[in-house]
Amino acid sequence: MLLIECPWCGPRDEIEFAYGGEAHIARPADPSKLSDAEWAEFLFFRSNPKGAHRERWVHAAGCRRWFNVERDTVSYRISRVYTGACEPVGEGQ
């Protein structure tokens, strides 16, 4: 049971949240300009790193707001919780 710090509500048990997969995969502004391969990349392909991972969570049983978490996928340690735009992994804190 991870302990996740909702930016609006504070630390809560994982069961209050829903996981939203890898963060910062923006929906293409004009999908029609994309090749099938590029569209497939957006739809399905993920970096799935072993180590630092930026991912999306939503406080589903709380404020229902989405936010981003930087979490190590091996230690499960959460190093950062943030909202908004992305920065490279490992920078900022």
Binding site: M1, L2, E14, I15, A18, Y19, G21, E22, D36, A37, A40, E41, L43, F44, F45, R46, S47, N48, P49, K50, H53, E55, R71, T73, V74, S75, Y76
Partner: protein, 416 residues
């Protein structure tokens, strides 16, 4: 290599069992192999075994980061079945089931495959509809499957609670009598022994740290024990597929998730078959040792930790007791986790890759164990000939681009 039999056992008893040979050779890596398989789990070992057996390719190394069979092969709940919805999946898993049926004799290693039946329960009208659809499809695909009504379910598995007052009453279920369980470690050990006997080198404690390429082609692997050259390389590293793909410069439509399982303390036989329920979300069987082996769905977050969250266990226990109220005073003895590769369509990838002579076999999600020999069989063909076997042609990477997915979420709504 000495053959295993009761006679050999008696003979060795007289010499205090001093005469048994190593089950597999502990090989030191050669400079180059025709084929290097990365990952000595069941699928990797089966690939090596069938490369040797079916294609006569024996200059093969299987390279393993830890100890063979130590990943998902040694962590799953050992369920074997082929009752998949779509034709492509049914054919692949059925091939595997058929290979399992003769595997003990083929390997001369008792893998304890017990076809005591796999029962999938239906708890609502939608489940029933889906079950009927699947049963009909399987029957026309020539795969055994039958529909049992609630009374039939009770007769087949008497300790199931089929009372109509249950929160989600059992309305019936589909039964694949040829399904069952096998001893997971024995599958890995038997394949390792048989592959080794045919000349395959099994190299344990040798982590792959890089995949060397030249001119768009793979030429070998960097490992903890140095560079090992290879004409062809197969990646079979369930859980870590994305990590290996990254070493080779491409990405996969895969996310790695923890999957947990647990066993009870052993008791005398109380449930003979495998019971699975998507609606209440649990599956259970009883091992030959008497332990109830129980699993459910994956943890929602991605992770390589071989650990999940405890609420998953709590939830599946509630589900278990809904189906089997008599289990309430049994006790959880041990729980553990594995890392499963999850594909968007809950079907595997057995495919060529963007790198020439580099092949990948991954994405089995929660259900890879049942596919072990079949997966090895078709992957060996793919590596040996450079082209997919008809059975795995639909499972290529390009399906994610064309949209020709093989959506088995119905099959894996609950992990298995």
């Amino acid at each position: 290599m000495g053959s295993y039999s009761v006679f050999a056992l008696v003979k060795n008893a007289f010499s205090h069992h001093a005469g048994w040979e190593r089950a597999w050779r502990d090989a030191a890596p050669k400079a180059e192999y025709d084929v290097v398989i990365i990952g000595a789990g069941g699928h990797g070992l089966a690939t090596a075994y069938y490369l040797a057996k079916e294609h006569g390719i024996t200059n093969v190394a299987v390279i393993e980061k830890g100890w063979l069979g130590g990943g998902n092969t040694g962590r799953n709940t050992t369920i074997i079945r082929s009752n998949y919805l779509w034709d492509e999946s049914a054919a692949l898993y059925e091939k595997s089931l058929q290979l399992y049926e003769g595997l003990s004799q083929d390997l001369n290693y008792n893998i304890m495959f017990s076809q005591r039946g796999v029962l999938n329960l239906a708890h609502n009208l939608s489940d029933v509809r889906e079950a009927q659809r699947r049963t009909n499809a399987l029957r026309l695909n020539g795969i055994d499957s039958e529909w049992l009504d609630a009374e039939g379910v009770r007769e087949f598995c008497p300790i199931l609670d089929i009372s109509r007052t249950a929160r989600y009453p059992v309305l019936g279920g589909t039964l694949q009598r040829r399904g069952g369980t096998a001893r997971h470690d024995a599958v890995a050990w038997g394949l390792a022994r048989a592959a080794s006997a045919r000349g395959v080198d099994i190299i344990q404690n040798c982590e792959v740290t890089g995949i060397r390429r030249a001119g768009g082609k793979v030429v070998g692997v960097e490992t903890a024990k140095g560079f090992i050259g290879a004409k062809k390389v197969g990646i079979v590293t369930a859980g870590h597929s994305s990590v290996l793909a990254q070493m080779a410069g491409f990405r996969l439509p895969i996310e790695s998730h923890p999957l947990q399982a647990l066993v009870s303390e052993p008791v005398k036989p109380v449930i003979d078959c495998v019971v699975m329920s998507n609606a209440v979300h649990v599956y259970v069987s009883q091992s030959d040792k008497g332990e109830l082996v129980i699993g459910a769905g994956i943890d929602t977050f991605t992770g390589y930790g071989q650990r999940g969250s405890f609420h998953m266990i709590e939830h599946q226990m509630g589900a278990l007791l809904e189906l089997f109220p008599v289990f309430s005073r049994l006790r959880m003895l041990r729980q553990w986790g594995g890392i499963v590769d999850v594909c968007p369509d809950a079907s595997p990838i057995i495919s060529k890759t963007p790198v020439d002579n580099l092949f990948i076999n991954c994405g089995w999600g929660t259900g890879g164990f049942k596919a072990t020999p079949g997966s090895g069989f078709v992957f060996a063909h793919t590596i040996a000939t450079g082209e997919p076997h008809p059975l795995n042609a639909p499972f290529a990477l390009d399906r994610f681009t064309t949209g020709h997915l093989i959506d088995e979420h119905g099959a894996a709504a609950v992990a298995h």
